[in-house]
């Protein structure tokens, strides 16, 4: 088992190097000369040269990339062009807010999506099944930002139950209250997708011969469902959940925009608009690294549910 984990850990390193390299290259090549952006058109030739040397821009791109990563590893993502704040500080400041709604959304999707999928599969073609699958179909077709706007119209503007925007961290209660709508909006797609995947992989398992074997042992239907059906359906479900994290990153950018949530997604959008490349680069690279780590965690989860992996790496 440890060997599998170690193998996965080593495999992620080239991916991380690749991702950071791609982001760095796209942003620095296409961006052109940052010196003019910073100093404006009227700066003298000398001043420009001096800044260029200061920023290390006179060296080859690959060296610049190396330096950037070296600094990043030491907690330095450079300084924002726009307001001279430290990029790393800003990113670390915003990231927990994103994590808050993202974790809330994935939790909600799992807690609701998996049971709905199980019930639908067990009662295939029943009213509950049909209703939840129609709902799920709309769920996967609904853009997160539109869902967010609808929620605001209904729950903030009409019913006046929940705040329409912003993050209120004065107290835990208020924080939770301001989280509800963003979390629901963000989870819609993942919830629907996980429910659909759970249902289809449960349906595949339900007809297997080993379910008959399990039933013939005289165990309860609940035990058959959890121990035999769900445990076998879990591998495709985990894959589906893993795929949701990518969607979740995209969704959180939209959700944060709708709800003026001070997360890292909105930071990226604002920075792109103000052409603040160091900020964009820092945030994007940071998110990519986090995303890779989450994927790694999902991969490691397989080691606990997939007997092929379990037996292959057993005791070595």
């Amino acid at each position: 088992m440890w060997r599998y984990i170690l193998k996965r850990l080593l495999m992620i390193i080239p991916v991380l190097v690749g991702v950071t390299f791609v982001v760095y290259m796209i942003l620095s090549v296409a961006h052109g000369d940052p010196v003019q952006t910073i100093l404006g058109d009227k700066a003298t030739e000398e001043a420009q040269e001096q800044l260029r040397a200061e920023l290390g821009l006179d060296r080859p791109l690959i060296v610049q990339y190396g330096n950037y990563i070296w600094d990043a590893l030491h907690g330095d993502f450079g300084t924002s062009y726009k307001n001279q704040v430290d990029v790393m500080d800003q990113v670390l400041d915003r990231f927990p807010n994103t994590l808050l709604i993202a974790a809330g959304a994935i939790l909600l999707s799992l807690v609701l999506g998996i049971p709905v999928g199980i019930i639908s599969a067990k009662k295939q073609y029943s009213f509950i099944d049909n209703a939840s699958m129609v709902g799920a179909l709309f769920g996967v077709s609904m853009p997160a930002f539109w869902m967010g706007l609808l929620l605001v119209i209904v729950f903030s503007l009409k019913l006046r139950l929940l705040p329409s925007s912003g993050m209120n961290s004065e107290s835990l209660g208020l924080l939770l209250k301001s989280m509800i709508l963003p979390v629901i909006a963000l989870s819609t797609y993942s919830l629907a997708m996980i429910a659909r995947m759970t249902r289809s992989s449960m349906l595949e398992v339900i007809r297997q011969d080993y379910i008959s074997t399990a039933r013939s042992k005289g165990i309860t239907e609940g035990q058959v469902t959890v121990r035999h059906m769900l445990r076998n359906a879990l591998i495709p479900i985990i894959t589906a959940v893993g795929l949701q994290f990518g969607t979740l990153v995209g969704g959180s950018i939209m959700t944060e925009t709708v709800f003026s949530w001070p997360g890292i997604g909105r930071l990226i959008v604002e920075s792109i608009k103000s052409r603040d490349i160091p900020m964009v680069m820092g945030s994007v690279i940071f998110l990519c690294v986090i995303f890779s780590m989450v994927n790694l965690l999902v991969d490691l989860l397989y080691a606990f549910v997939d007997p092929q992996i379990k037996s292959q790496y057993k005791g070595k």
């Binding site: 011969d209 080993y210 008959s212 074997t213 039933r215 013939s216 005289g218 445990r231 007997p307 379990k310």
Partner: protein
């Protein structure tokens, strides 16, 4: 009430599956009985209702689409069809066990084989420790070292998987075992090993057994009684010798005519003409009459029933209707 010698007695069992294409009459008044400690071979073509019968006894007809619409299943004198789901759970695995057709797919791939044997022991009141010990014991009994209890099904061969399934089925020492084509999916040499082992364990535990197969050779070697099924009915029933020496039903005659014999010299095998009937549209009267060479017009009107023909031998065929009954009609 049921005969006390009989561990199992099925009377007029009717089970249907409601599908989009129509109502499939899987069991159409099947009756049979089995004495304590004996083995009954249940023979018939694919689709004759053998597996449905087995699942019916276990109370494992998938509903929907399946539904038991009539009949009785007496097990040790009590009607299983009247038992609650809760009571049936106590019967399954403890008093009646079932071995399924395909060992490759009948074990849960994500549980160790040890856990799967322990599960049935735990379900019937054993403590964790007893269950683990019991599982090891059962593995050894079917010839698998107990150290392998920690392994997963994909690490075993087909024959070994079937042994594990047998270990699960016999773990709680059931009185009655249903084996649904236990060796069809295995190589011939492995088939033999598994059958010998089953026979040995059956004698050791004094288990009664219902052996479903379409292989008359296996029946001849392992069974005390034989029931021949056709289109959801038991068309002929009797002791092994009665059926093999003196088959009466035209379908049984057809079955024996279509297998090669070592002792007799035949140039050609004689197949049964025609195809098994569409289970959503069974013929009226005797379901076999459209394929039967002895069929008369009366066969299409005949109300299917079994007639004794000496000993324990019964046949469901109009040709064996006793004379007094014929006069009544």
């Amino acid at each position: 009430m049921a005969d006390n010698d009989n561990i199992l007695e099925i009377r007029d069992l009717k089970i249907v599956y409601k599908t989009q294409e129509g109502v499939v009459e899987a069991l159409n008044g099947a009756s049979l009985s089995l004495k304590r400690g004996q083995t009954l071979g249940l023979v018939g073509e694919t689709g004759a209702g053998k597996t449905t019968l087995a699942r019916g006894i276990m109370g494992l007809i998938p509903k929907p689409p399946g539904q038991v619409v009539g009949g009785e299943i007496f097990f040790n004198g009590t009607d299983l069809l009247k038992a609650s789901e809760h009571d049936m759970r106590k019967v399954r695995g403890a008093q009646i066990s079932m071995i399924f057709q395909d060992p490759m797919t009948s074990l849960n791939p994500v549980m160790t084989v040890g856990e799967q044997i322990e599960e049935v022991l735990r379900a019937h009141g054993r403590s964790v420790k007893e269950a683990v010990e019991g599982a090891h014991e059962m593995l050894e009994m079917v010839g698998i070292p107990k150290e392998r209890a920690e392994e997963y099904p994909h690490q075993f061969s087909g024959g070994m998987k079937q042994r594990i399934i047998i270990a699960i089925a016999l773990a709680c020492n059931p009185e009655f075992l249903i084996a649904d084509e236990p060796t069809t999916a295995l190589d011939v040499t492995i088939q033999y090993q598994v059958l010998v082992m089953m026979q040995k364990l059956k004698e050791q535990f004094n288990t009664s057994m219902l052996m479903i197969t379409h292989d008359l050779g296996i029946v001849a070697q392992n069974c005390d009684y034989v029931a021949i099924m056709y289109a959801g009915q038991v068309v002929e029933y009797g002791a092994l010798r009665e059926i093999f020496k003196d088959p009466r039903h035209p379908y049984t005659l057809g079955l024996f005519g279509s297998i090669p014999s070592l002792s007799e010299d035949t140039d050609r095998l004689t197949p049964i003409e025609g195809m098994p009937p569409d289970p959503t549209r069974l013929p009226t009267g005797c379901p076999f009459h459209p394929r039967c060479q002895y069929a008369t017009e009366a066969c299409a009107q005949w109300k299917s029933e079994a007639y004794p023909v000496g000993g324990e031998h019964t046949v469901r065929c109009l040709r064996f209707q006793p004379a007094e009954k014929r006069e009544e009609a």
